[in-house]
């Protein structure tokens, strides 16, 4: 066979190994290109649903005293509009774009946990269907997208609407956390060789920050949703003032998520802007280091603003001032980015094409939204406009201008990548101007409506208040905007059929996603290159051809495995070859079983829910089982190369990083519970402590000692394994698991023995949740360890395959940590306080 023939054969093999299954088998696809596109398309569908709800609301408000829809349906419409746009459109669409682009930009073949991507998508899909179905059953949530208590509790929202929201959205959030873990680890551990932190595309910094913000931002809301659902369904007390709870705890937990959420949306959108502006200005971005600095600043400071949503609830002035100043501070990193973008354009030669039109629209609209943001950061001004249409106008300027416009710019920019075809310039221009004009007509005037006192969430208003013409203008603007969006969608759809063929790199871009055939193949790159600069496509002109010719790393798939390089998170030096899992039904099966759990919980069929949960756990354990050296994954062979080694033959593969990042999210959930405990203790007006402490602390100490011993045995076994000594590994793991089981039994006894009344006091409710949390973790650690011992027996874990116990060790250490922190905070401290 000649050289060309060999290359073709190699590429055909790569295609076979990386291809999705045909027909229904597509549902088992895990490839990031497929999953990313699914996220985006599903997100766009929900954008249309949210848009339709907005049209219904604008029709109702166009004239005073109309009764086109009822007050209750209006409440459902605004609740679902916010919920759909925030949770079912914006986050998934941006995550989808990131999942599609990140591996391509960093020169990788896929994300590091492809099955997690697929699982996340199905959680999102099923959770969204659950939430949306409530509209068709006429029982959609109607307490606002932030579900404030007590309005959303069982007394004031007695139907199933709030349950749909709490259960469905929590399910969707699993998807967001999965994507967060996936993106963070992929960016840190699978960049092309040579691509350092300093030379990675600026978009990756934005997505890295977004991923980490999801990890720290979403758990407070997940916890709050679980607590509220427990209050509604099981009568526990967390937000009910009468039992020692506090409705403001919900607001704190919600906005601990809710405000960072705005930046979780804005950062990837700004990442699109920072990617496009240099391309269309034909020069590198100005102030790369300054932009990295402002991304990190935004990521942190945005967590210190949440109380600015609560300025009117009665918080001391000094505390309000902390949050007011922090709210103004966050404008600084945003301004740095705006100046960097303007500077890049001013010092470059700007090409005014369609994506840039949307970028200009973004700059104008977002800066206006940012300015009103600084206005509402001022406490006295916020008191005046709180809960008025002024705030509605501000948030739409920020979210539509700051997120939707860049997203559409990005869609137009990467459309040739998705389809290999160009969109229509004319239709696109019409789409932009109608959307931009309609948007400003709708929302600019809404600032005035708000300043004149029109409150949010009212389904109608009286004539003669002076709001009539403004609302009519807003409604007309809304329909013009809808027309613009329709044009854009039409353009997107038509271009697949009528768009002219795109050239290989139609915008003369600098990043690696354009170094592949468009639309892309399933393995992205025929070989993985060494990347030395921030602009590989500008600085290494032969790169595309040499990659396609297989002149770089991993040009073949001889073992029949999906493989790519794992690299150092800082320097980009090669560390290992990551063998990725292939197509699988397990993500769909696991997510479906969890969806059944959610539906059963909604219907209050708790036995069925437990059975479905058991099925889900079985699927998830099976998923973990077919990994590493399992015959379905990468069985050990004698001719394996050890330089670089396969990741399952190392101590530090991406799974370890995935576990670490997932535990950060888990730890944030736990800290949120701890925050709730201390908050209620110090702030709730009717917080009551039972006369006798309800838990037998001696039992807990005994349980903790057993846990410490189990962790000691396990970590010793891992330490020996790290030295290459696997003798007696299975027995040691069994011993660790056995002692762990004794710990679980003692803990269970402690729970059984406790005199807790969670339906009566918030004190006992929080303690109950804490104990369940500990039990679940300990029980899982024991199960995982038992399975590891079994894998040792089967030869999937051993001296040549030491990876999995190292990953599990982190979980054990985490379990140990939260146990003793819980003992100190929930048991020792209150007991000590009583003595004082």
């Amino acid at each position: 066979m000649n050289e060309t023939g060999m290359k073709q054969a190699q590429q055909a093999k790569l295609e076979r190994v990386w291809a999705n299954l045909p027909g229904w088998g597509r549902l088992a696809a895990v490839n990031h290109t497929t999953i990313g596109l699914r996220f985006m398309v599903t997100g766009m569908f929900f954008f249309l649903v949210g848009g339709l709800l907005a049209m219904v609301m604008r029709t109702q408000l166009a004239r005073p005293e109309q009764d086109i829809i009822t007050a209750d349906f209006y409440s459902q419409a605004f609740t679902m509009h916010g919920t759909v746009m925030m949770f079912l459109f914006a986050i998934p669409a941006l995550e989808g774009l990131a999942m599609y682009l990140i591996p391509k930009m960093i020169g990788a073949r896929d994300l590091v946990f492809p099955r997690l991507s697929a699982f996340g998508y199905y959680c999102y899909l099923f959770g969204s269907v659950i939430v949306l179905s409530s509209l068709f059953f006429g029982m959609a949530p109607n307490a606002g997208w932030f579900m404030y208590t007590p309005l959303s509790n069982a007394t004031f929202s007695p139907g199933m609407g709030a349950d749909f929201w709490l259960i469905g959205i929590t399910f969707v959030e699993i998807s967001a956390i999965s994507a967060g873990v996936e993106l963070v680890v992929s960016i840190l551990r699978s960049r092309a060789p040579g691509m350092t932190l300093r030379t990675m595309p600026i978009f990756c910094w934005y997505i890295l920050a977004m991923g980490l913000m999801i990890i720290f931002g979403f758990p407070p809301l997940i916890l709050a949703s679980i607590l509220l659902e427990l209050e509604r369904a099981a009568g526990m007390v967390f937000f009910e003032a009468g039992g020692g709870g506090d409705p403001l705890l919900w607001q704190h937990l919600f906005w601990l998520f809710g405000h960072p959420e705005v930046y979780i949306l804005f950062l990837p959108a700004a990442g699109i802007v920072s990617t496009l502006i240099p391309v269309f200005s034909h020069r590198p971005i100005l102030g790369y280091g300054w932009i990295v600095l402002s991304i990190i600043l935004t990521g942190f400071i945005s967590f210190g603003l949440w109380v600015h949503h609560m300025f009117t609830v009665g918080i001391p002035q000094l505390a309000q001032a902390f949050f007011s100043v922090a709210s103004m501070l966050v404008a600084v990193p945003t301004a740095i980015q705006v100046f960097a973008w303007l500077g890049t354009m001013l010092t470059g030669r700007v090409t005014y094409s369609l994506p840039m039109l949307w970028i200009f629209g973004f700059l104008f609209t977002f800066v206006a939204g940012g300015l009103t943001g600084v206005m509402v950061a001022l406490v006295p001004f916020d008191w005046q406009v709180h809960d008025t249409h002024f705030v509605v106008a501000h948030l739409h300027y920020v979210t539509v201008g700051g997120v939707l416009f860049p997203l559409i710019a990005g869609f137009y920019y990467w459309l040739p990548h998705f389809s290999g075809r160009m969109s229509s310039e004319r239709l696109g221009q019409w789409g932009f101007w109608l959307t931009f004009g309609g948007f400003n007509l709708t929302f600019f005037i809404m600032h005035l409506t708000g300043l004149l006192g029109m409150p949010r969430r009212v389904y109608t208003y009286e004539e003669g208040l002076g709001w009539g013409w403004m609302n009519l203008t807003s409604s007309i603007g809304g329909f013009v905007m809808a027309l613009g969006m329709a044009m854009i969608l039409l353009d997107f759809m038509l271009h697949f059929r009528f768009g002219k063929k795109a050239s290989a790199n139609p915008w003369h871009a600098d990043t690696l996603e354009w170094a592949m055939p468009i639309p892309p193949n399933n393995y992205n790159f025929a070989s993985q290159p060494v990347v030395k600069t921030r602009h590989p496509m500008w600085d290494q002109p032969d790169l595309r051809a040499s990659m396609e010719a297989g002149e770089h790393y991993l040009p073949h798939a001889e073992q029949g495995r999906r493989e790519m390089l794992g690299t150092d998170p800082v320097t980009g030096k090669i560390r290992e070859v990551i063998h990725l899992p292939s197509n699988s039904w397990l993500p769909l099966q696991s997510a479906f079983a969890l969806a059944v759990v959610c539906v059963c919980l909604l219907m209050k069929s708790y036995i069925a829910a437990m059975l479905a949960a058991l099925v889900a756990v079985c699927f998830l354990l099976r998923w973990g089982w077919v990994n590493g050296a399992h015959p379905n994954a990468a069985p050990v062979s004698e001719d394996e190369s050890a330089d670089p080694p396969l990741h399952s033959r190392s101590f530090d593969g991406p799974g370890l990083w995935g576990m670490g990042v997932a535990l950060l999210a888990n730890g944030t959930l736990y800290l949120s519970l701890l925050f709730g405990w201390f908050y209620l203790w110090t702030v709730a007006p009717l917080w009551a402590v039972p006369a006798a402490f309800p838990i037998n602390w001696q039992l807990l100490v005994a349980s903790g000692v057993a846990l410490s011993m189990a962790v000691f045995i396990f970590t010793r076994a891992v330490a020996r394994l790290k030295k290459g000594n696997a003798s007696g590994l299975g027995a040691r793991l069994l011993a660790g698991g056995g002692v762990g089981l004794a710990h679980v039994a003692l803990l269970l006894w402690g729970v059984w023995d406790a005199n807790l009344h969670p339906a009566e006091t918030a004190h006992d409710s929080v303690l109950t949740v804490m104990l369940i949390y500990l039990l679940v973790h300990s029980f899982l650690a024991v199960i995982f360890t038992g399975l590891q011992a079994w894998r040792v027996k089967l030869g999937y874990v051993g001296s040549r395959l030491p990876y999995e116990p190292v990953v599990l060790r982190l979980f054990w250490l985490y379990t140990l940590g939260v146990f003793w922190v819980s003992f100190a905070a929930f048991i020792l401290l209150p007991m000590g306080w009583r003595m004082v």
């Binding site: 600095l293 967590f303 000094l318 100043v325």
Partner: protein, 114 residues
């Protein structure tokens, strides 16, 4: 174990200190107001403000010290990657110190528990 200033963790340490300080002063304010007698804490010069200000000052000094250490090591001949990390981390320490000072400023003029 001392972390070299070229370690990327320094990119987040400064603002992590800011975040802990923020939680500390917000939580400390709530605790102080819970345990204090009301008339004593209605003025900006109360013991709560003074304690929180002292804590703030300490944190500012710590952040500036770390910033100086980062910047001092970034010599012109240094390879680009460690220099990049040192410079950005140093600037982030300064930014964190400014954020601490800015958010702490109201303690000089506002009463804690009103």
């Amino acid at each position: 174990m001392r972390l070299a200033f070229t370690h990327p963790l320094h990119l987040v340490t400064g603002l992590a200190i800011w975040a802990l300080w923020f939680v500390g002063v917000y939580g400390g304010l709530s605790l102080g107001c819970m345990i204090s007698q009301m008339p004593q804490v209605l003025e900006a010069g109360s013991w709560i403000n003074m304690t929180l200000l002292a804590f703030t000052l300490l944190v500012v000094v710590l952040l500036f010290t770390l910033a100086i250490k980062c910047w001092r090591g970034a010599s012109p001949g240094m390879p680009k990657l460690p220099k990049f990390i040192r410079r950005v981390a140093g600037a982030l320490y300064v930014a964190a110190a400014i954020a601490v000072m800015a958010v702490g400023l109201p303690m000089l003029v506002l009463p804690p528990c009103l």
